[in-house]
Each structure stands twice: as structure tokens, then as C-alpha cells.
């Protein structure tokens, strides 16, 4: 039995809330071509055997540093990038292997919110056309009905319907992100993948958008996969959090346990690097400022990927790759020597 199946079985017995999305052993590799004949010599393993589930109505946060594969995971689910192997179950149906044509109806139920509200909206379309586009594509509304629905959507996300016929450049970053959100909820999707939805926004606007996403979740019964690198923001919106490192999930658990009972050394490192907003509790500068950065090319195919940076690594960590296992109830970790508390 694979790890992923174990996850699901255990989960089913503990909680009967419905699993909406389940990702099993997802792999997305990008080939590197080199030499005279541009033969594929190596692969970048952007997503390397990732398994997780998202229950209906909850928010799963995926957090990690740049290049850890969190965005590729999101893109592979919605098939903006074709996964190399693995399965993605949405409402029980495997959507990773269906033909592109058959995937289309599912797109109605899975929507995406992108990071950069400046480049993700077509500059030559009116706000009306941007928000109406998915409704027209799926032939849901026409004429007066369509306009009514678009106005309704603008009101839901807190945009003035007067601005219906403006172009994206006339809006601020926060308002543009609201347009992106209106478009994403237009089709009444069940799942929304939010890929860094606030990191391009000003601090005072970030809170507005995070609160809007939380409110919409309650009102429209949405399920989120919330991908971000900002740990405080992920903590603020997520019910459960998955930590990714170099294409793998190294720890998954509830929001509360991830911080109170951190098991993976990488998670601990990540949390402690977040600057505190209290000047009386300074932590930076206490430890030595020695450079330790990950280098994708130097890591071997063997052993734990974090071993080279890990302060607790033992000999077997370098040769024996750990598996994601359930260390405590609902708390999964990929480490031979989880931290003791």
C-alpha cells in the first residue's frame, strides 16, 4: 500500500468530512536538454512524489521558499503544467489522466487566483469582459442576465459596480486582485487555488484581501489551496499547513500543531527565520551569519534532501531517504529524527 492510500484510509476513519481533492504521488519533472542533439540528460524534479488531501470547506496552506515546487504543485492540479506521473482525485474522479477535452468541465469547479494582478488581467479588456469571460465561455448567462451576474460579483468582492467599463490599469493593485477574485468565483467553483494572492500587494491592502478571502469562504462554502511563502499570512488563513522543501512535502499538520509542536528541523528553521514584530524580542544576529543555501545541483538522489543543511543530521540521513509518516495523529513528517518536545 502506498503512503497516500494510508493517508486516506486513516483520515476516513477519523473524520467523515468529505475529501474534495486528493493528490497521490504527484510528480512533475522538467527535462534539461543539453549536448549537440539536445538530448534529455537530467530532470529538474520540481514536484517529487507529493501526496496530500484537502477536505471540503477547509483551507490547506502550502508554504515553502522559492523553488520548492509549491506553485508547480498548484499548476499541476489544474493542469496548467502537465504532471509527469501521479493521480489527482477531485470529487473522486482522477483528473490528472483524463484527456484535455474531458478535463474542461472540471475547470468550472476548480479556479485559480494568481500572484500578480498586473500581469494576470488582460490590459485590453474591460472589467466587465474580464469577469464575464468565464460565464460566456461556459455558456451560463447571456445579455441582461450576464450583466446582472457581473454586477453581483463585483458587489460581493467589494468593487464599485460603477467601474464596470474601466480598464485594469485604472485600478490599484488591491482592486485588481479583487477583479481576479470576482473572476475566480464567477462559476461557483468548489475549489480555488490561490497562488501567492497577496505577496504583490502593499501591507495595508494584504489584510483587506486576506479578510475578503476568509469571508468568501464562509459565504460561498469554498475550499482553498493557499500557496504562499509568507508564513504569517499562511498561518492566518489555513486550517492545515503543508511545508514543502525541494519538491517534497516534509511536514503536514493542523495550523496549531505546526507551530506548537514542530517536528521537522526545516519547518523549525523556517518559522524561526520569520522576523518578530516585537522589537523587545529580537532574534536575528544571535546566531552566526554563515551562508548555508540550498544548491539544487549538489543534492544527491540519495538520502534526505535537507540533510546538508540540517543541524541534527546523522549518518543514515545522507543515504536513506525518509518517508512521509504519521508521527502523531494527523501529523505527518518526513524525517528520521523528528524534533522532541
Amino acid at each position: 500500500m502506498t503512503e497516500a492510500v494510508e493517508l486516506k484510509e486513516k483520515h476516513r476513519t477519523t473524520d467523515d468530512q468529505k475529501v474534495l481533492l486528493e493528490v497521490k504521488n504527484l510528480k512533475t519533472y522538467f527535462p534539461i536538454k543539453s549536448g549537440k542533439f539536445k538530448r534529455t540528460t537530467r530532470y529538474v524534479k520540481a514536484v517529487d512524489d507529493v501526496s496530500f488531501y484537502v477536505k471540503k470547506g477547509e483551507t490547506l496552506g502550502i508554504v515553502g521558499e522559492s523553488g520548492c515546487g509549491k506553485s508547480t504543485t498548484g499548476n499541476s492540479i489544474i493542469r496548467l503544467v502537465e504532471p509527469t506521473s501521479g493521480e489527482v482525485f477531485f470529487n473522486g474522479e482522477n483528473i490528472a489522466s483524463v484527456k484535455p477535452k474531458d478535463f474542461r468541465p472540471h475547470k468550472k469547479n476548480i479556479q485559480m487566483i494568481f500572484q500578480d494582478p498586473f500581469s494576470s488581467l488582460n490590459p485590453r479588456m474591460h472589467v466587465f469582459d474580464i469577469i464575464a469571460e468565464p460565464l460566456v465561455t461556459h455558456k451560463l448567462y447571456k445579455g441582461k442576465e450576464l450583466e446582472k451576474r457581473v454586477v453581483e460579483l463585483m458587489e460581493i468582492v467589494g468593487l464599485d459596480p460603477e467601474l464596470l467599463h474601466r480598464y485594469p490599469h485604472e485600478f490599484s493593485g488591491g482592486q485588481r486582485q479583487r477583479i481576479g477574485i470576482a473572476r475566480a468565483i464567477a462559476l461557483n467553483p468548489e475549489l480555488i487555488i490561490c497562488d501567492e494572492p497577496v505577496s504583490a500587494l502593499d501591507v495595508s491592502i494584504q489584510a483587506q484581501v486576506l479578510n475578503l478571502l476568509k469571508r468568501l469562504q464562509k459565504e460561498l462554502d469554498l475550499t482553498y489551496v493557499f500557496i504562499a511563502h509568507g508564513i504569517p499570512a499562511v498561518k492566518y488563513v489555513s486550517d492545515r499547513i503543508a511545508v514543502m522543501y525541494m519538491g517534497e512535502i516534509v511536514e503536514v499538520t493542523t495550523n496549531e500543531k505546526l507551530f506548537s509542536n514542530t517536528l521537522h528541523p526545516y519547518t523549525k528553521r523556517l518559522i524561526s527565520a520569520v522576523p518578530s514584530t516585537d522589537p523587545t524580542k529580537r532574534t536575528i544576529g544571535d546566531s552566526d551569519a554563515v551562508a548555508d543555501e540550498l544548491n539544487q545541483e549538489e543534492t544527491s538522489d540519495q538520502g534526505c534532501k535537507f540533510a546538508a543543511r540540517c543541524p541534527f543530521a546523522q549518518d543514515n540521513c545522507l543515504v536513506d531517504r525518509p518517508k512521509l509518516r504519521e508521527y502523531a495523529k494527523g501529523h505527518y513528517v518526513k524525517c528520521h529524527y523528528p524534533l522532541k518536545h
Partner: protein
Amino acid sequence: MNLLEVKNLHTSFYTDHGVIPALTGVSFSVKKGEVLGIVGESGCGKSVTSLSILQLLGNKGKINSGSIHFKGQDLTTFSTKKMRKVRGNEISMIFQEPLTSLNPLIRVGKQIEETVLLHKEELSKIEARNHAINMMKMVGIPQAEEKYAYYPHQLSGGMRQRIMIAIALACDPELLIADEPTTALDVTIQEQILGLMKKITRELDTSIILITHDLGVVAEMVDRVVVMYSGQVVEENEVEKFFANPKHPYSKGLIRSTPSIDQEDNLESIKGSVPTPANKPSGCPFHPRCPFAMEICKSQAPENMYYGEEEMVNCWLYKEEVKTS
């Protein structure tokens, strides 16, 4: 005496769409060995402030009035030639994006060496090279001799930012201006770079102006905070007093809308959005977003109200309080 004293600085940009006032009366000072944080959101003028100090505004930007005294001399009166001697030597700068601020065609070690040769004419080429390698060691680059011959693209973002710091500190400047030095970096790398800046500047007794939008970085790094909004300073205070008791409604909103790791309650947000310099509101520029806005705020810009020499707030709410104290 203050190392740097900026007084009532007005800077405008002359564009095809008219004159855009970017700074409207900015005043602050930096003491020797101090870390001053300038906080604000995009378009508030925090970067223009640093470019004004170094006079790197380009041909469209111009300082209209005000003074910038550095070690007693007014930089606004300096000629281009004289200013060139100050830049990189006495005042240097670290920019946000290390990939675009390094020359991609020159080996990183050479770029450090270049700065040294330009400002320290007494050094020979070999001495300059050794100095460059020592700087690379100081900023924590492993195998510095080997990395000397690397091109910027061969290094990671964190390593590039270390090179930028090495260039900035190569001539032992008295003031370092760091404009969002870690915004493009991952959080674990940010921790290292901030730690490095703290350690080295303490050793060399360098003063820093740290420009950032991240209140976490401010809380970790600075001694004093200056908050900017729409081209002006709205609050100034010591860092601990600032976080314990922010005065300006904008500062309060900023602190309450920043999620922290110990966040329990719901985040409060500031309504509306940041005004662009081209359409600055009348009176107090924050009044359309302010929950405490009064009649006077709409028509009349508040004065700077001082509680002490270094505790200032630019808000009508505190008029009476300041008078009686």
C-alpha cells in the same frame, strides 16, 4: 552632532504629464552608529528620499527646496564631481534586486575591486584585489578566492546580495542606505543577510538608513523609526515606543494589518488604497482612509507635533495633547 540631517526636503519629478511632487517636506536625522528605519508602502516616497540624498534622481527629478546636511556640509550644494566622491565612499547604497544592480559581464570580485580602486587611489591593484577578497570573506562567502572569478549569474540571490554588501562596505562608508535589501530574498536567507548587516555595521560603526515596507524587519533591526505616507513623514519615534504605542492612525493601521506569527485575532485592514503622488488628497493626505478623520483634516494639513526632540507625529488628533504636555 548628527551624521545626516535632512530638513524640509521637497523633491519633484517633471514628466510629460506635469509636475509630480514626490516629497513634500521630509525631515529626519541619523546619528553616528544608529540604524534608522524608514517605513512606508509603495509610492510613499521612501526610495525617492534615498535617491535625493545621493542625488541619483536622474534628469527628470529635482530637489526643489530643503537641505541635506552630511557631516555639517549641505549635499544639495555639491557639484556633480564632488558628489561622486561622496557616493560609494562616504555614503553607499544597497539596492533591492541584486541581479539588476550588478554588472552581468564583470566578475563579482572585480566589481568590488573597482569600487576600491576608484575611491582609494593609494592602493595598488594587488592590494585592491586582496582587499576585495577580504571583503568577500567578511560577508561570509565561502571559498572567496575561487568565487572572486564568478559572474553574478553563477551565484544565488543571497550570495549576490552579499556581494552588494561587500561593494557597499568596501570603502568603509559612514552611512549605508539599504533600500529593501531583503525583499527579493527567501525568509531564511533574509535572516542571514540581516544578521550579517547587523554584525558588520556594528564592527565598523556604520550608520544605516534601512528602507522597508516590512514591519518585522523594522522590529528586528532598527533603533528609530520614521513612517512615511504620501511624500511626508507622519511619525517618528524610538522603535520600542513606536511598537508599544503607535500614534498616527496610519501607523496604528499598519501594525494591526500586519499578520504576525502569534496572530490570534482577526486582522484589521486600512480601507481604501495608497494615493499616488499625482493625485494626493487635500489637507492631511491620509484623511480619506482615516477612521478618526475630522473636518479640519479635509482642508488643512497638520503640522509636525513634537513630544520631544525625537518623538513626532503629524496628526491633528494630538494638537491638544502636545500643547498641554
